[in-house]
């Protein structure tokens, strides 16, 4: 047998799958995609870093250490630190309600959750100015009681929360829909109460989806510009990172603007890495 195998070695046959393109076509498509990505993504990304370090690392770190810039970073972290947990709790509650119960108005709730995605962030900001601003519905009453929302930190938080509203819920609803209710039912029949079911069964089932939603929500919260721009008062101190970048840029401090931009870019890169890692985890879990 071995002798036969030696004289007639089996040659692997290569045939193209019916859905595969010719090698030329394949190379053309791949090159096209890479060129496009390079032109519109990689080069601008590199430009951000090149500009930021144009005056050397010393200047770069000096810009970041500027008190105004530092306060902008702090405000962004603070805003995201409130908006993200709020949307996390809300998103979880909404997804739970929509996927595990039937109630009248369910479709309306599902549609409303998507509203912030379809409305321009500028309008989201304007809405809060109309409601809480000096000439708004509650404005006079609020200012009479010494509460400042618009042109103040609460305004940033409200606008950011509105814009990042759907991320967690949108991520969880399809996931929880696919998982159905039987795991929860099984837990209930085994004697588990409502909270126990949430912590011991639902949470472990959705933890990666939830984390994914939180990361996307956070990235958007920190990068939001339009909505916070409307509720901010550019002339007076308090700025988020995005607003500070704009302010630096308008003051012809290009290097400073780009230096601060690298902070956001870095955040975006971390988000992408985390996202890839979670997707990998989830894929392994589905096996």
């Amino acid at each position: 047998m071995e002798a036969v195998a030696a004289t007639h070695p089996a040659r692997p046959v290569r045939r193209r799958l019916p859905t595969a393109e010719s090698p030329f076509m394949r190379r053309l498509l791949i090159t096209g995609a890479l060129l496009f990505l390079g032109l519109f993504l990689v080069i601008p990304l590199l430009a951000v870093f090149a500009q930021a370090f144009a005056k050397g690392p010393g200047f770069y770190f000096k810009t970041l250490a500027d008190p105004q810039t530092l306060s902008a970073i702090k405000l962004t972290l603070f805003t995201a630190g409130i908006a993200v947990p709020m949307n996390c709790v809300f998103g979880l509650a909404a997804a739970w309600a929509i996927t595990k119960f039937d109630f009248p108005g369910k479709n309306i709730l599902t549609t409303l959750i998507d509203l912030p995605f379809s409305v321009s962030p500028v309008i989201a900001g304007l809405v809060y100015v109309l409601v809480f601003g000096a000439q708004g519905w509650f404005g006079p009453w609020l200012s009479a009681h010494g509460i400042h929302i618009i042109y103040a930190v609460p305004g940033f938080v409200l606008a950011t929360t509105f814009v990042t509203f759907p991320f967690v819920a949108r991520e969880l609803i399809p996931l929880m829909q696919a998982q159905g209710r039987t795991d929860e039912e099984a837990a209930r029949v085994l004697g588990s109460g409502g909270w126990q079911t949430l912590w011991r069964v639902t949470m472990p089932n959705i933890k990666w989806g939830l984390l994914y939603g939180v990361i996307l929500c956070n990235a958007r919260a920190m990068g939001e510009f339009g909505a916070v721009s409307v509720v901010s008062n550019n002339t007076q101190g308090q700025n988020t990172i995005t607003l500070q970048i704009e302010a630096l840029y308008k003051n012809f401090n290009l290097t400073g603007a780009f230096a601060l931009a690298t902070v956001l870019t870095f955040l975006a890169l971390v988000t992408i890495v985390l996202k890839a890692w979670i997707e990998h985890k989830e894929a392994r879990l589905k096996l």
């Binding site: 039987t182 795991d183 039912e185 029949v189 085994l190 004697g191 588990s192 126990q196 089932n205």
Partner: protein
């Protein structure tokens, strides 16, 4: 120690699922709820577990005589095995089985040692000792269902409810698990209600079988009772293969071709058309007419694959078709060819008082 439902009525939107169903499962009994899909059997099971609620206040659920209708699911202590197992995928086999014990408040929770002891005992009972550290995704369907059963048994349930427990398994595993379930029941004797649409499974495993049709219980009895004395044509049809013979009712008997059969059920009717039911294995085929073999028929087809042969015949008088089941030996002796004329004898002819079309 019995489980009982009384007058359960349930509707989903405008679609009725159950109409005033009452059923009592005696202590230690294994009862099968048998019916086609949409007959309401799963809904009844879910109402007993507390996963659904009856629509009207007359609908009651009783465990050991205690009314649990208003008790929430997690306080009923019902063991439930789902058709698709519903194992917790983030927990291994051991922890899945231990789940119902670990979630108890610390006053009623067994100690760590007791939990381990009980889970190990259950693992042995369901023959999965070696797989305690596996996760559900690493198990076969049959193994998963056994884990689900062990998990349900871990809380020492007052009643064990099985929703199509073998429905998602392939035919061979189904049969094995069926035997195993019967043995398990002999061992632990927990009051059990199980839902199935497979009549063979119900007849083989259950002490009693309740047949559901469109939200009502059509008949309930031991497997022998319902098979030998089906109360309605539906039950007769649902329990096995059926041939129908058009005939005429006369004087408390029915005429099919030249044959006459006693049919006391039809006493009130005279000289009307009737349909008689005969199982394929209750028909004898001969080449020559004689004695009770009077009905002439032509051979249409002959299926010989499997342990039994099936002969398809067509009546010469009215063209009605029917199937006969024969052993391979009988087939060899008869050696029928398509188109040949045969004579058949009908045995155990069943006529129902009211006409019914299958």
């Amino acid at each position: 120690m019995s489980v009982e439902v009384r007058n359960i009525t349930k509707q989903f939107g405008r679609f009725p699922a159950l109409y005033g169903v009452s059923l009592k499962v005696e202590s230690g009994e294994l009862v099968a709820l048998l019916g086609p899909s949409g007959s309401g059997k799963t809904t009844l099971l879910r109402i007993i577990a507390g996963l659904e609620f009856p629509d009207t206040s007359e609908g009651r659920v009783l465990f050991y005589g205690e009314d649990v209708t208003d008790k929430p699911t997690h306080k009923r202590r019902a063991g439930f095995a789902f058709q698709h197992y519903a194992l917790f995928r983030h927990l291994d086999v051991f922890e899945n089985i231990a789940f119902g014990l670990r979630i108890r408040s610390h006053r009623t929770r067994p100690t760590e040692n007791e939990i381990r002891e009980r889970v190990e005992k259950l693992l042995k009972l369901v023959q999965l000792e070696s797989l305690a550290k596996r996760f559900p995704s690493q198990l076969s369907g049959g193994q998963r269902q056994r884990v689900a059963l062990a998990r349900a048994l871990a809380i020492e349930p007052k009643v064990l409810l099985l929703d199509e427990p073998f429905g998602a398994l392939d035919a061979k595993v189904r049969k094995e698990l069926r035997h195993w379930l019967r043995q398990l029941h002999e061992e632990i004797h927990v009051t059990t209600l199980f839902v199935t649409h497979d009549q063979e499974e119900a007849l083989e495993v259950a002490d009693r079988v309740a047949i559901l049709r469109e939200g009502r219980i059509e008949q309930i009895g031991t497997p022998e009772e319902i098979y030998d004395y089906p109360a309605t044509p539906f039950v007769y049809d649902f329990l096995g293969n059926v041939n129908t013979f058009a005939g005429r009712v006369h004087d408390g008997s029915v005429e099919i071709g030249a044959s006459k059969f006693a049919a006391p059920e039809t006493a009130g009717r005279d000289d009307t058309d009737a349909v008689a039911f005969v199982r394929p294995h209750d028909i004898r085929v001969t080449r020559r007419p004689g004695g009770p073999a009077k009905l002439a028929a032509r051979v249409v087809l002959c299926h010989t694959a499997g342990p039994l042969a099936h002969l398809e015949l067509e009546r010469l008088d009215n063209g009605g078709r029917f199937t006969v089941e024969l052993s391979k030996d009988q087939l060899r002796q008869l050696a029928p060819k398509p188109g040949e004329r045969m004579f058949v004898e009908l045995r155990n002819v069943k006529i129902f008082p009211e006409d019914y079309s299958i």
